[in-house]
Symmetry: C2
Subunit: 283 residues, 2 copies
Amino acid sequence: MRVIKTLREMQTVAKKWHTENKTIGLVPTMGALHTAHLSLLRKAKIDNDFVVLSIFVNPTQFEPSEDYHIYPRDLARDLEIIDGVGIDIIFIPEAADMYPSGFKTTVEVKELSTRLCGAVRPNHFQGVTTVVTKLFNIIKPTRAYFGQKDAQQAIIIKRMAVDLHMEVEIVVLPTIREEDGVAYSSRNLYLSPKERQAAQVIPRSLELAKAKIMQGERVASRIKQQIQDVIQSEPLAQLEYISICEPESLSELEIINEGTLIALAVRIGKARLIDNITAEELS
Amino acid sequence: MRVIKTLREMQTVAKKWHTENKTIGLVPTMGALHTAHLSLLRKAKIDNDFVVLSIFVNPTQFEPSEDYHIYPRDLARDLEIIDGVGIDIIFIPEAADMYPSGFKTTVEVKELSTRLCGAVRPNHFQGVTTVVTKLFNIIKPTRAYFGQKDAQQAIIIKRMAVDLHMEVEIVVLPTIREEDGVAYSSRNLYLSPKERQAAQVIPRSLELAKAKIMQGERVASRIKQQIQDVIQSEPLAQLEYISICEPESLSELEIINEGTLIALAVRIGKARLIDNITAEELS
């Protein structure tokens, strides 16, 4: 495992692999690694000749009021967590190199970036698509791995890759949950023990929605109401949005179909947590 | 010389060249080729193992009121003009392939895209940077060639390539002029013989500016006034803007320095013509 900090070195290594016709799996992260990141890294390891883990807390995807400055950064711990996975390169670029002096260029996926989380985080997805484009251009991965927990992000990046003819396969892997159902997230670190327990209300609300849909409920407004009731039963949880939408356009739906995305954002203490399920195999 | 119309075929050819470690020169055009395009193609031929000429009248870089539908399209004539240059591939993609169904992604160079021509063509440069990104992703050229006549376009594309870490060298070649000084442009085809003669006022105004600067004039407002006086002496010419600006930021300058860009846009009949000079070697 080699740590690379400069773009030039990363480009040189990637170029060498490309001329040898090797496949490269990229797992882009902001560090604060956890079990769900490991699932992406392990799949990347299976699928590709080489695996690059990038760690970059990307300033442009945080809103001015958000947690950029307090976002957990602990490289020693990250290195411990990935020990034994067989990663080839950890790429840890500097912000000054990723955003050269006079930087003015953005990549934006219109419409999709303003819905769901984009309504309260107007610059977030533009920051994500811009930095992911940069990483793709530097590394030119064969495949890039993202988690379904960040469903909107995955949908937007897939759209971007198709639209701009990027030669990379976007692989989206299932949400990994802790034992009590709460999705793994770096931002769970912000929660006090009490808040962490309160967070269980999120998967519980989605489980209830799933059960109701399995029982035959198809009316989105009724499912939304039920999710809302569960979230509001928890005094520490503040519901930001529930979306029941078509999973390519993110357009809100009135009737739930196979593949419909049910996503929500909830604030608990200092943390803003997101989660989602997909209506599947409706009979 | 091989004509390629599908993205898949172009990607396959480019990939083959890349694995053979060959260099590729790309000359992106909208067709209606002329002498200035030939100068780009000939330089690309000298610099690279292979040359790709792309011809694509890109709908997204035209404003709704502009000349997209009447823009000259004459492939037979284009093929005649480039005969003997030694181009390897002419890439003529379809709009439906370049802009797949549900397309939503744009690449934008902020600030630079709203100045000069961008003030009257608010969507133009976003269309250019988006389509150039697509071409770069499909072909992955070693070098791409643009003309200095479109100074703002060249500045924006250079900025984009740096900002997004695109591994391509942007080569900008000098403006090529007809015998009477008028810059070659596909849009000169829109001019009647009388209008074509009137267009001489454009290089004449820039020549005067150059002479005044050589004589020691450094005050931008005075140079602007002199250019304006010359353009307004021609009843068929309508001045759109004169900009005297710093050539990286495109910020307007009050005092002319070495490297200062002096650019203008003029409407004559149905044509909107642009031209520019750079203040060089001021003693």
